[in-house]
């Protein structure tokens, strides 16, 4: 689209630069005549008129263009009118007036719409807030257009904020990348070579095949390498972060399994469905808060945590009492029975809440992200989940190591008969431990509801990975689960960068199969007699 109008409009911009140099203060921003030219006539001329209007930024031009974008502008012979609700305002003077009878709606095609959007962004270069100006400058950098050099020059002249200035300079350089004079291009490349913006890399790479001058081409290649080097750290940190994020989710999912499978030897194929129950409990609490406590909506997640834990733990305890109790010592049958339970749970949820996903909204303190480096954004919800996983891990470790229940659970795990002999009610401990593992699954579901879809088959997506974590980590110790979860998360994301998601997953699975050849009991095998039991 740019290519068509560019030679003509470049001439115009050059003329304008000259004009600006001579008369630094233009006479008037938005004249009635200019407004008429923007709303009527040939598309090319209207675009030219928009360009003219934004050369002299003022709030009224911004308001007019915004109204135009929102389709609130009417036009008649008497003038251009902005209609807001039942109020009509003159576009150029801003005074209130009556709507003429012959007023028509302004027609916009997609090309004009695009131009108006860009023009609005350009006007933001002169906004009051530095953050707004910065955002506008970045958007100009992303989509550089040689026509706007004059605008950037003027913004640079007025800009006092150093960080905004540097981006503006880069935006100007980006616009000069296709300048006819090779000296200008060289200079622009030098400016961009010191950039930290990920967009610049794209721009430089796009320019590379179109460059004919050998010297400039060489400079371009050098600049690409420099920017890549500078961006590499951000990329590595980003990969590590997504790896840690996936690892923390796997950890949450696998912690419950580590108790039910690792400590009790029960293969719980319904573990994923217990997570699903936790996620639905979160959704229910959210709905209750929206209905009865809309003012405290942001706090719903705090109430959802115990709710999801208790729901899943109750279901887990019932499962253990009614079914699994009768199957101890028959692990393969347990596997099939829990699979059956998972089918029933999934279908129950489907009957109660429908087969579609339900919407769980993030509380406001979990949305958004912080920008650490220009190419590294850390979303709050992921960071909070990493922290949450660590808290849950610490709680479980403390519970197992320091409480009476934990002592009993460890005792039963190590030697059931002996534990029973010294007076531990092993049947009761089984129920408690299973409820605990299920409750942690519920917490995992609550966490997952904040980053993904909540539907009846939520659990199915994670269950294979979670079992891999337990298999890799080894049975009987939490440390193995932690290392395996974080390791698998990292390896998965690192491989994804090279090979794509599916091949990465397959590579990880093959790795686990090969790994088990070396250490059949996992990373941290239990030692001693209990290992063979």
């Amino acid at each position: 689209m740019r290519a068509f109008g560019s030679p003509l409009s470049r001439l115009r911009s050059l003329a304008l630069i000259g004009l600006l140099a001579v008369a630094s203060v233009p006479a008037q921003a938005l004249t009635p005549e200019l407004a008429q030219r923007i709303v009527r006539g040939e598309t090319d001329e209207r675009i030219a008129a928009i360009g003219e209007a934004i050369e002299t930024p003022d709030p009224r031009t911004a308001a007019f263009l915004q109204a135009l974008a929102d389709e609130q502008v009417r036009v008649s012979k008497e003038g251009v009118i902005i209609v807001k609700g039942d109020q009509a305002l003159d576009a150029t003077s801003g005074s209130s007036r009556s709507l003429p009878a012959d007023a028509e709606e302004v027609m916009l095609n997609n090309r004009l719409r695009g131009e108006i959007d860009v023009a609005l962004a350009a006007l933001k270069l002169f906004a009051d807030q530095p953050a707004q100006r910065r955002a506008a400058a970045v958007s100009m950098l992303k989509d550089p257009d040689a026509d706007r050099i004059a605008l950037i020059e003027r913004a640079l002249g007025a800009e006092r904020n150093d960080s905004v200035r540097s981006i503006l300079t880069e935006a100007r350089a980006a616009m000069q990348l296709s300048d006819p004079a090779s000296a200008t291009r060289l200079q622009a490349i030098q400016t961009l070579a010191s950039s930290r913006q990920p967009e610049v890399l794209l721009l430089l790479n796009q320019r590379l095949p179109n460059e004919s001058d050998a010297q400039v081409k060489q400079a371009l290649t050098g600049a690409v390498r420099q920017v890549e080097d500078r961006l590499r750290w951000g990329e590595i940190a980003g990969t590590l972060f997504t790896g840690a994020s996936l690892g923390s989710i796997l950890l949450l999912v696998a912690l419950g399994l580590a108790i039910t499978y690792g400590l009790m030897g029960v293969i719980n194929m319904a573990h994923g469905e217990l997570m699903m129950i936790g996620a639905y409990a979160t959704w229910g609490v959210q709905a209750l808060f929206r209905e009865f406590l809309p003012t405290a909506f942001d706090a719903y997640l705090l109430a959802a945590l115990p709710a999801s834990f208790l729901c899943a733990a109750t279901v887990g305890a019932l499962m253990e009492r009614l079914v699994l109790r009768h199957l101890y010592g028959r692990p393969l049958e347990t596997l099939l029975a829990t699979w059956g339970i998972s089918l029933v749970l999934m279908q129950t949820v489907r009957s109660l809440f429908g087969a579609q996903n339900v919407g769980v909204e993030n509380p406001s303190w979990m949305s958004g992200s912080i920008q650490v480096l220009p190419n590294l954004q850390l979303p709050w919800n992921r960071m909070i989940i990493i922290g949450f996983a660590l808290v849950v891990l610490a709680a479980v470790a403390l519970l197992l190591a320091r409480t009476r229940l934990g002592l009993f659970v460890r005792g039963v795990t190590q030697n059931r008969q002996m534990a029973s002999c010294v007076g531990i009610n092993t049947a009761q401990i089984d129920t408690w431990a299973f409820a605990l593992g299920s409750g942690i699954a519920g917490l995992a579901g609550c966490a997952l509801s904040q980053i993904g879809n909540v539907g009846p088959d939520l659990g199915q997506n994670y269950i294979v990975d979670a079992f891999m974590v337990v298999v890799l980590g080894g049975v009987g110790q939490l440390a193995g689960t932690v290392y395996a979860a974080l390791g698998l998360g990292m390896v998965n994301k690192l491989l994804e960068g090279w090979t794509g998601a599916v091949l990465a997953k397959i590579a990880v699975l093959i790795f686990i199969i090969v790994f088990i050849q070396k250490r059949p009991q996992g990373l941290f095998a239990m030692k001693g007699r209990s290992a063979e039991a």
Binding site: H326, E333, S351, M468, I506, L509, I513, I516
Partner: protein, 371 residues
């Protein structure tokens, strides 16, 4: 009392089947090979004795499932290894057959090209290497056995060598199937992505949708099922089969007696996988579609539940189980679709809790009580 003999007496090899079993076997053979074709093709549609095409398709499909259940019984019921990867071998057999059927379409596809439609759609210019042999029926028959057999051999060798047992093995096989499903979902692996293969036109140049072709496939499936049953019966009554059962009951003791379980486990694992693959290859031309959904974890576990419902370690039980569960499935998914998963889930729980020996075990107990 005569003098006690200290000579170790091994029990004689039991007969392959008793007289009643042979009679039932012959009846089944006659029903499949003679009565079904006559009632389907010769008897007019209005007649009470007419066997509808729908019934032929359904029973043909279930017989394929029954072969899977039989294979599952060999590995699970007799050797004590629960595989959750049999869906993979079933699908692999199906895919090999599907590739041949895709090539048989020739230029009759939507794009009138020599290449299968999905390749034209992906703008591929020639067949990928793994399609090289797919135009030959003989090679296809060979590959149906070789591909899943080799995969089972390699995987099994690694798994059994490092003594992965019990639930570990189940989980690893499930992961293997899951990985394969992800791979087959990809377009660039050349298996038609998530649509898989469908719209088959011919098999061995005969049109595939006619009643006659279907009947031939039906009879072939039935004969394969009966043949595999005899073979399995022969296996489990042999010394080899006794060692399998010994491995199931006390693997450590088998090792102390001087046997290495590895070759036994590996061979029965490969045999079982190949049986599943043959079932898959018979399944695809009858059902007319194969896609990666066949490799989902649910399918593999369902095979296990057929065996469990019928009764493990009986060979006939899993076949009965496959018919019972799939009969119920095709009835329930039509009359009360939302009820089916409840039923299946309850079946899993009830069978493991109350019927550890399955329907066959229940029948045996009842008949003993009323004698």
């Amino acid at each position: 009392m005569s003098t006690p003999s200290h000579r170790l007496s091994l029990p004689a090899r039991p007969a392959l089947m008793g007289r009643r079993a042979w009679t039932s076997f012959l009846v089944a053979l006659i029903v499949i090979a003679a009565l079904a074709p006559v009632f389907n093709l010769m008897v007019p549609k209005e007649s009470l004795f007419h066997l509808s095409d729908y019934a032929v398709a359904l029973i043909g499909k279930i017989m394929c499932y029954a072969i899977c259940a039989l294979a599952m019984d060999l590995i699970w019921g007799y050797t004590g290894i629960l595989s959750l990867g049999h869906g993979l071998f079933f699908a692999l057999g199906g895919y090999v057959m599907g590739m041949y059927l895709m090539r048989q379409i020739g230029r009759d596809g939507n794009y009138k090209s020599d290449l299968p439609d999905f390749m034209v759609f992906l703008d591929w210019k020639e067949l990928p290497w793994h399609w090289a042999l797919s135009d030959s029926f003989a090679a296809t028959l060979l590959l149906i056995v070789l591909v899943p057999g080799l995969i089972a051999l390699v995987f099994g060798w690694f798994a059994f060598r490092s003594r992965i047992k019990g639930v570990y093995f189940s989980i690893i096989t499930q992961a293997l199937t899951f990985a394969a499903m992800l791979l087959f979902f990809r377009n660039e692996t050349g298996f038609g992505g998530n649509n898989g293969f469908t719209d088959f036109k011919r098999i061995l140049d005969y049109p595939i949708a006619t009643a006659q072709t279907r009947m031939v496939l039906f009879v072939l499936t039935g004969l394969t099922l009966l043949g595999f049953f005899l073979f399995a019966r022969w296996l489990v009554t042999s010394k080899y089969g006794r060692i399998l059962q010994a491995i199931r009951d006390a693997e450590s003791r088998v090792m102390f007696c001087g046997y290495s379980p590895l070759p036994y486990k590996l061979s029965i694992w490969v045999i079982s996988a190949v049986m599943c693959a043959v079932a898959g290859a018979l399944y695809v031309p009858q059902v007319g579609i194969i896609n990666p959904g066949e490799m989902s974890a649910a399918n593999s576990i369902e095979i296990a539940v057929w065996a469990a419902v019928g009764g493990r370690g009986t060979l006939i039980g899993p076949i009965v189980g496959a018919f019972l569960v799939n009969g119920a499935k095709s009835w329930l998914t039509v009359t009360a679709p939302e009820f089916w998963l409840y039923f299946l889930g309850a079946l899993f729980i009830a069978v493991t809790l109350y019927l550890p020996r399955g329907v066959i075990g229940l029948v045996q107990t009842l008949s003993r009580r009323f004698k």
